[in-house]
Amino acid sequence: MADPIEEEVQKEIKANKILIYGKGTKQMPMCGFTRETMQFFDRYGYPYELIDVLQNPAKREFLTGMTNWPTLPKVFIDGQFYGDTDILDPMAAKGEIEPLLKKAFGK
């Protein structure tokens, strides 16, 4: 039988072109890095979802194993894992984010 957490995560990744697993909510991010990641995507104007996993240790652990990445936030774009702003910022500096998002949103 499939792991319900895995099914939930796969569904979330599929449903959101830009998905941030982080701490807190859009209205009240509970972590500086989560806020930074939201600000990063605000610059591009595409919709993103923030899913709070602060109160869900089992899901947090699943995501860590799945991505082999220990920290939050964790960013997925078009189903692919992209780490956090430490990865996204250098990509942005090289002009790689805009085309990636354009492609993800089919524009």
Binding site: C31, F33, W69, P70, T71, G83, D86, I87, P90
Partner: protein, 79 residues
């Protein structure tokens, strides 16, 4: 809370050639920004480079001595 020397030695244990610069972002010695230069990163993409650093710091991250970490991982020729 961890000293920059202790943090650096965790990284050197995994990557003996590493040159590590540590910045304490909050004055509390648990939110860091670090820059690691090592040729162990050659041929690895950014995600894998960061995974290597997280792996080296697994212990102090798990026990809470490091609360937050921002990483720059480069090779000596600047890639």
């Amino acid at each position: 809370m961890i000293s920059s020397d202790a943090l650096t030695s965790y990284i050197r244990r995994a990557m003996p050639d590493a040159v590590v610069s540590v910045t304490d972002r909050t004055g509390t010695m648990d939110h860091f920004s670090i820059r690691v230069v090592s040729n162990h990163f050659k041929g690895k993409n950014l995600l894998d480079r960061h995974r290597m650093v997280y792996q080296a710091l697994d212990e102090p991250m798990k026990d809470g001595r490091i609360h937050a970490l921002e990483i720059k991982a480069e090779t000596s020729d600047g890639t």
